[in-house]
């Protein structure tokens, strides 16, 4: 029951490294990227207008808080850290043709693991080692969580979209159970894990409030990009993604690679959770679920699964996320509006790709 649907909005997934780039190409790429974003902002603005909110005021607040205020931009850059890890995980999975939609479950379990282990570790070992161990264990737990969908896809051909989604529902509940029952801080009335003291968290950059997790996130996505584009392992994964049958015939161990892809993708999602907890939050409260996982998908698609471009789009998403929270408070628009915006971006982007493809074909004919 496997379905050969390489998750490519564009045909450019494989040729991200193609050699000469003319000015025309760059202009074309810019148009194909900014066009859909602008169109999506306009359509989403119409929806705001329909529910009686001034879209210009909304977008104004988003930019004011997310981009132009000194405190806001620092929050935006801090928010980028977990999003970059999640985007890195999605790049690996999507380029290898696997739909890991279980990011939120893996993220939360990584977060809870880190929140439970870090306060214990800092008491028995030096701080840097304690944080390193917490990252490691969060990654491993998320990897284990992805094992069932990975094995089902690799050896039984069960569609991974469904299994990873189911595992996300399970993982979200399990994370809550762990917070409420296993790792609950006995000293607080609200169910939450023990808080990691601020001085033990990841250091902040210079004199700002920006977490150094941002640097880790940037490193993660760049390493992933280089592995996917410059190494034999990355090429193997891209072949599996482009044509699984051809990959089998060329002698690649597809089941093993499938499990590896899920492990890397989920591991990065687990690290995303850990970096958010160890760098910023300090603890996990019960029922906390920021649901970053699905929101990152359009950013990765817009970037054509290219790591460098993904950094830019994650920044935009971050601005939207931080600014959206502020605009939501001021204008009374619930945060769910971001979901609508993300959805419109995806649809408009797919449409733009289609018409671009059609235009190119008719020009060649």
């Amino acid at each position: 029951m496997s379905i050969d649907t390489a998750p490519t909005v564009s045909a450019t997934a494989l040729d991200a490294t193609s050699g000469t780039v003319t000015r025309r190409d760059i202009l074309h790429r810019m148009l194909m990227t900014l066009g859909p974003i602008l169109a999506a902002l306009v359509i989403a603005g119409c929806i705001l207008l329909a529910v009686g909110v001034d879209p210009l005021a909304y977008y104004g607040f988003v930019l004011e808080k997310g981009l132009f205020s000194p405190l806001g931009i620092q929050q935006t850059l801090t928010r980028m850290a977990p999003l970059l890890f999640l985007a890195a995980g999605l790049i690996v999975a999507f380029r290898a043709g696997m739909w890991n939609l279980g990011g939120d479950g893996q993220f939360l379990l990584g977060a809870v693991t880190a929140a439970a282990s870090a306060p214990v570790f800092v008491q028995i070992m030096p701080a840097w080692l304690a944080l390193f161990c917490s990252f490691l264990i969060a990654m491993v737990v998320a990897m284990i969580w992805s094992l069932v969908p990975a094995l089902l896809r690799a050896y039984q051909g069960v569609n991974e979209i469904i299994t990873t989604l189911m595992m996300t529902f399970l993982g979200t509940s399990l994370a809550n159970v762990l917070v409420k029952l296993a790792f609950r801080d006995p000293n607080t009335t609200v169910p939450q894990t023990r808080t990691l003291p601020v001085e033990d968290r990841l250091p902040r950059l210079f004199e700002t409030t920006i977490t150094s997790g941002l640097l880790l996130g940037l490193a993660a996505i760049l390493i992933v990009h280089l592995v996917m584009t410059r190494t034999a392992f990355g090429l193997k994964l891209r072949i599996v993604g482009a044509n699984p049958r051809a990959a089998v015939h060329s002698g690649l161990g597809v089941p093993g690679l499938t499990v590896a892809v899920f492990a890397i993708s989920a591991g990065l999602a687990g690290l995303a959770g850990a970096v958010d907890i160890i760098g910023v939050q300090g603890n996990v409260r019960a029922d906390w679920n920021p649901a970053y996982g699905l929101a990152v998908i359009p950013a990765v698609f817009l970037a054509r699964m290219n790591g460098f471009a993904a950094i830019g789009f994650v920044f935009l998403l971050s601005v939207l996320s931080i600014g959206g929270e502020s605009a939501a408070r001021r204008l009374g628009v619930p945060n769910h509006f971001t979901l609508v915006l993300v959805s419109i971006v995806l649809i408009v982007l797919a449409l733009a790709e289609y018409f671009d493809h059609r235009y190119n074909q008719s020009r060649r004919a």
Binding site: M1, I3, D4, T5, P7, T8, V9, I47, V51, G52, W99, L101, V148, L152, Q156, G157, V158, N159, I161, I162, T163, L165, M166, M167, F169, L170, S173, L174, N176, V177, K180, L181, L294, I297, F301, V333, P334, H336, F337, T338, L339, V340, L341, V342, S343, I344, L346, I347, A350, L351, Y354
Partner: protein
């Protein structure tokens, strides 16, 4: 615990199971027809949410449950129209569009709910049941299965109607061919795009109806994210049912029991955190997939847009 109490408890449990199963059944039947015709419909969760929201709005303002079902189905169809245009007509990636529709409808219905109902949280009165004479007098089983709203019996009848369409009619054969070998259907002179469009729109109507039932009869109100994965459960049901509507019914009832157990345990005051109980249905799905995943069969051309003359 007296015998009488456990009898009442058991029939309430089964009654809840049927109520919980109906949205899953409708979603599963809907997904099945799309998959048969070769369209993987990940947007079904969004279609159910549209159905739940519009179904509730329709029933709330008109006071008629039937009108609510109608607007709910229309809501599902309106999302399906987008899906049909983008994925069947011009052949965009079904998974990308499906995810986008689900996300968008999650956000949009939550947004509309916020502006419309978030201060008052209005509720609908309990739905009137159609009591089937004689059968409903059977102890335990009678009150559990034969005292539901009329639409429940219609949904079960639909299972057999679908079975008939798939096995005995030209339309059923066309749907099957559109999923297995669309080129052959095209050569036979039947429009693949049209056949698939019919399938996707039917999915929208059934999913919308399922959502409307969930909001209007199951819950009596609309809250954001009310479907909570029911559409995805429907996809799993369709995958495991191997194209047979009756298996969707059995699967839906099985998951219905799980969901009903969730509520029953909470009502009975059994001291387990709700989070653990909420995991039950999804755990059941994963176990089913581990046990039967390999035996699930899907049409050959599932997920692949049909383009005439393309290789």
């Amino acid at each position: 615990m007296t015998g009488l109490f456990s009898e009442v408890f058991l029939s309430a449990l089964l009654f809840g199971a049927v109520t919980a199963a109906i949205p899953l059944l409708l979603a599963g039947l809907g997904e099945q027809i799309s998959e048969k015709a070769g369209v993987l419909n990940i947007g079904i969760e969004g279609m159910m949410l549209a159905g739940a929201y519009l179904g509730f709005v329709g029933a709330f303002y008109s006071g008629s449950l039937w009108l609510g079902f109608l607007t709910g189905a229309a809501g599902g169809v309106s999302v399906a129209v987008v899906m049909a245009l983008l994925c069947v007509r011009i052949g965009l990636n079904q998974i990308v569009i499906g995810i986008a529709l689900t996300l968008g409808l999650e956000g949009l219905t939550a947004l509309l709910h916020h502006f419309q109902f978030s201060r008052s949280y209005p509720r609908l009165p309990a739905a009137d049941a159609t009591v089937i004479p004689l059968l409903s007098d059977i102890p335990v089983i009678g009150p559990a299965f034969f005292k539901h709203h009329l639409i429940v019996y219609l949904a079960v009848a639909l299972v057999f109607g679908m079975g008939y369409i798939y096995r005995r009619t030209q339309l059923g054969l066309n749907l099957q061919a559109a999923g297995d070998k669309p080129a052959a259907l095209d050569v036979a002179g039947i429009d693949v795009v049209q056949t698939r469009t019919i399938a996707v729109l039917t999915t929208g109507a059934l999913a919308g109806l399922g959502g409307a039932y969930l909001a209007n009869v199951g819950a009596g109100l609309f809250i954001p994210f009310i479907t909570n994965g029911a559409g995805f459960l429907g996809i799993v049901l369709a995958m495991l049912a191997r194209g047979r509507p009756v298996w969707v019914l059995f699967g839906a009832l099985l998951f219905g029991v799980c969901l009903s157990l969730t509520t029953a345990m909470q009502v009975a005051g059994i001291n387990i955190p709700t989070d653990i109980i909420q995991m039950l249905p999804f755990l059941a799905v994963m176990i089913m997939l581990v046990l039967f995943g390999r035996r699930a069969s899907l049409p050959a051309a599932l997920g692949i847009p049909y383009e005439r003359g393309a290789r």
